[in-house]
Symmetry: C2
Subunit: 646 residues, 2 copies
């Protein structure tokens, strides 16, 4: 008898293991299907469905099958049991059922109105995974990869415009969506579809902030494939990366906005507290991410110089790089900051410093590893979005709300792109043309971040309505706008097939004449950028990488002993040999690595001349969205005695 | 008020997310520490602590800190609540506590005696992860990597011996441990430390089977680093890989062994059913794993030939490879078979066929990806083992049982290695010397698999005692034996610093004289191997890869239209150009890739001669543990008219 009981218990447990396997297998199967489809499409140069769109479609079909084909054996799960002895929900609950103790783990709080939705199907519940998996495991590689693969040169050329779109644009978008939705909510209350006090203005703003995170991954993939104008690509990519960060912090700040009395009235102190929260969280996350990257750079730098053997262990190097970057995310989350922002800036900083210290093998390994993880994570998320339409059990689809959200999203995008582009064009020499603006307007797709933010909290009815609506908007934008990218490009007559480096040079050349006049008058405006640039080039780069001039030449004379200690022997060699060449090559290295097709034509004979020109162009190009200023890059290595900036 | 409540709820939820981040951060931190330590050790050529030992040590320290430093805020968790309304434990439980409904998820069944152990610390509970994570996520990459990186040539040279050690040896080990433990259990009952009917003979056998999975990763790493004799390396590696598979299936079969009446009496029908289960599960898993690999090979083959563009998308290729290999594991688990066995043979088959079809970029990507995943997964498991000593809450340490297990493990290893080596040496020409046998005896470390099998079921007291004991044995063997490998090698006077290919040639040359005489008499004994070899070389290799002769030359004449369809155009070209060269190079390719230091000296001038010699040697070397037989490899490409085997 006892033996038989054990037998049954083992069987039961096996059943549980197999369940986990079945769910993972479903995801694997969906991803395999997606890859095969995409591969077929790529072969036939069919660009109307991107892999993410395909993943979503297969997810949708699978969700439909799971929902309507599998049975629901779990009859008990809809019933609510009373427990008078407990005061609050403990994290683990031991329950004695017919003389057998079972352990239950706390999952979440459920609103009373959702209880009926729980007469579910065990399979559906198992296919729904914990939102913290999105945040802790699936999103970090995507965001890190975005930061790591940023084309720095083009990014810094357009930094001012990108920052404007990301910060100002996202704020505008959030407020516009919030206001429009508040109007629709009022209308819904009027029509009796909603109760009076259920949906506050802060909820509308919350929805606005989460819907402001754009994710034009489909569009960018097509841009990349067709070699669309690099400025357009960079503007869109930079905007979408930073705007995710801004939208996440904004959502966080709004969710902890707590006016003292009437939630609808404006409370100035609470408002300013929210603004303070926003700035604090953003700055803190930025600092957290960058410092992890600096630690990685220092470790990898130490490896290379003091203990020269690390290049023999690319595995350890790659492992350390991976773990420290992920730790940046996790530490920020653990500290109550925003991990996504931390991991984004960690990626950017890693690419700027650490990448230069890695052994050639590790450079390739890290690049391929993050590329692969990005690919998998992205497709898993889009599959899951497809699944969620049918497997999520508490959808609330309100036609008026959905219609309102669609309108709001487009109006908000328009009031972000067009006015800001107009303002930016006042300052920019290289104007953002009308067709680029239309393309940016068109590329306002919503994706993984909006979904992840919406699924994080689906307890109350307003939040469920937001989640269902966000999901539909993601479907709509990814399929309709993602599929329409290629026709739109040709309709707007945007140039394709451009070599990004040739393009940059041509633009720089055409600007140089007008630049020279403005240099002296406007040079002060870009002082912050210039100081940072000089500081980075003269102190940080030499300290953290092998690029840049040796510290002995940049630090004052009395620091020489320290400087000598901190400078790697190879820096001297490289520096004395190549002068500024090394710096420029280092700066371009990442760009080159990410664009195998781009060949930078450096004539071998006239080396110093052409390189100095490229160097200058690089700095001239560093506009802050307000124009182009020539930065007086001093050739520190060649003239070590003249290198004071002030 | 309502707003305030929302505020609190968001805060709470944030708290939950951060918790997940904190736990992951702890693991990251441990892994970073491990990597830095190992890197330091490697630089100083300090070989007494392998990375897994280091990971375990850091895990132990962290477990100690978590256990004794963090407070236990969760007072409720030790209490058991009665629930009269429920008949069985549903997978989700909704409970109304002070007018708020909470959702709880089923975790596991708890024996009454464990309830007191649950007055735990929430942190400890959170650090304890679900055993299914081990099985579904951490083990597959380790086992796949073992299969994928198998040095096929050396493996097949020693196949017979390896199979003997793995199947017969594991069975012996299981029975010996079971018998010794049964003796100790009887003694414990006699001393009153255990109740009469608590611990059956099947439980002892269960313990025996799980303790039979050896994991000499530490020893193998040192062997690899020091270039120890390749035969010893291969014997040990092959044995440990296959023996994991055997031990897992054995554990599974024993756990579902269910005699009708008295569990202690021998029930012949149940016993044979168990043997049948073992064979069925093993064969089924083998078939499942291989067929996934064959599908992958076919897809990658199709990619290369029919649609030549896939090499442009190494990401898709790598993704597909990764997902299909993982699916082999998950499908086997979902079908009630053993995923570990499936993924092991999937890895071997992928290396044999698919690897040859991949683009050079994908070859490197897959190799590095699996290497990296293996590295991470292994260290996570060993960290977790260290943690588990202090964080697992139901340890039962019984000194007598632990002492008995230690004795049993060593006696079992001795009665596995020495008698089987003696028997094998009767047949082997290349004898297994005495010092190799001692080294194999010494390398009987226990590791990840034993731990994973033990943690899978820790509900009853016997199982908990087994888990605690297994954990201690892992610690003991990894630290003591792992640390003692280098002294042991020099004490046993085992040669190090051997170039594996030179070694193979020297051995083959010394054998060739004695071989030639035995060829004709013993050739029939190896008929199974020969038929498989011929079939593989003439039909499977050409069908699934670009190696081997074109199918048009190996299939009968009337199959020509089909053969032409199935053969890739490149196979013709390569084949006609190189003859057998291609085959041999393909066979060696993986070996070469995994040993960057090994240079195979192929003189460029006398190409055909030397290569044909290598080819023959390769086949001569294919002993089945019973001797060495020369296999008449027919040069099919050169003589397409003579190639009928029968």
């Amino acid at each position: 008898m006892e033996e038989l009981k054990k037998y049954v218990s083992v069987k039961d447990e096996d059943h549980f293991y197999h369940q986990g396997a079945v769910e993972l297998l479903i995801f694997n199967f969906l991803l395999i299907l997606t890859i095969l489809t995409i591969w077929l499409f790529k072969n036939h140069r069919f660009r109307f469905l991107h892999e993410t769109g395909g993943a979503m479609l297969y997810g949708l079909l699978m969700g439909l099958i799971i929902r309507y084909v599998t049975k629901s054996p779990d009859v008990e799960s809809g019933t609510v049991y009373e427990c008078e002895k407990l005061k609050s929900g403990p994290s683990t609950l031991l329950i004695n059922i017919t003389n057998q103790v079972y352990e239950y783990q706390y999952k979440r709080e459920i609103s009373h109105h959702n209880v009926n939705g729980h007469q579910g199907n065990a399979m559906l519940q198992k296919m729904t995974f914990d939102p913290s998996i999105f945040f802790n495991i699936l999103l970090p590689p995507i965001i890190f990869h975005a930061g790591y693969s940023l084309k720095k040169r083009h990014f810094f050329r357009n930094l001012g415009s990108i920052l404007t779109y990301a910060f100002l644009g996202t704020a505008i978008s959030c407020i516009v969506i919030g206001l429009i939705m508040y109007g629709f909510v009022k209308a819904m209350v009027h029509l009796g579809q909603l109760k009076q006090r259920e949906f506050h203005f802060t909820d509308c703003l919350f929805f606005g902030s989460l819907m402001s995170a754009t994710d034009p991954v489909t569009v960018l993939a097509i841009f990349h494939e067709l070699n669309v104008d690099t400025d357009l690509y960079t503007l869109l990519f930079g905007e979408s990366v930073l705007n995710d960060a801004v939208a996440i912090v904004l959502t966080h700040s709004i969710s902890i906005y707590s006016p003292k009395e009437n939630p609808n009235a404006f409370d100035a102190s609470a408002f300013f507290q929210s603004v303070g929260n926003f700035l604090g969280i953003f700055a803190g996350s930025f600092a957290m991410g960058s410092s992890y990257a600096v630690v990685t750079a220092l470790i990898s730098f130490m490896h290379l110089t003091k203990f020269t053997k690390l290049c023999e262990f690319p595995m350890l190097e790659t492992g350390l790089f991976f773990l420290l970057s992920w730790s940046a995310f996790l530490s920020a989350e653990a500290a109550g900051l925003t991990g996504i922002v931390a991991v984004l800036f960690c990626g950017v900083t890693q690419a700027h410093y650490t990448y230069n210290n890695l052994s050639p093998d590790s450079k390739m390994r890290t690049k391929q590893l993050f590329e692969f993880m990005n690919f998998l994570a992205e497709n898993v998320i889009f599959c899951y979005m497809g699944l969620a339409l049918f497997t999520f059990q508490n959808h609330i689809f309100n036609p008026l709300f959905i219609f309102g959200a669609l309108v709001a999203v487009f109006v908000a995008r328009a009031s972000n792109i067009y006015p800001l582009s107009f303002l930016l064009n006042l300052g920019r020499k290289q104007k953002i043309p009308r067709n680029f603006q239309h393309m940016m307007m068109f590329s306002g797709l919503r994706g993984a971040i909006a979904f992840a933010l919406a699924i994080r909290d689906t307890d109350s009815q307003p939040k469920q309505m937001m989640f269902s609506t966000a999901l539909l908007i993601v479907f709509f934008t990814v399929w309709v706008f993602g599929g329409g990218t290629t026709p739109m490009l040709s309709w707007l007559q945007i140039r394709v097939g451009i070599d990004p480096d040739e393009d940059l040079k041509a633009k720089a050349a055409s600007q140089s004449a007008s630049n020279l006049e403005k240099n002296t008058t406007k040079a002060e405006t870009a002082w912050l950028f210039r100081i940072w640039y000089g500081f980075d080039h003269r102190y940080l780069k030499p300290l953290l990488t092998h690029a840049g001039p040796p510290l002995t030449s940049t630090l004052p004379g009395w620091c020489n002993p320290v400087a000598r200690l901190l400078t790697s022997p190879s820096a001297y060699g490289d520096q004395l040999k190549d002068g500024d060449t090394d710096y420029i090559i280092t700066n371009d290295e990442l760009t080159e690595n990410y664009e195998p097709s781009a060949h930078i034509p450096v004539p071998a004979q006239d080396n110093t001349g052409s390189i100095q020109a490229t160097g200058k162009e690089d700095i001239q190009a560093g506009d802050l969205g307000l124009g182009g200023y020539k930065l007086q890059l001093q050739h520190t290595a060649c003239q070590p005695q003249k290198n004071s900036l002030a």
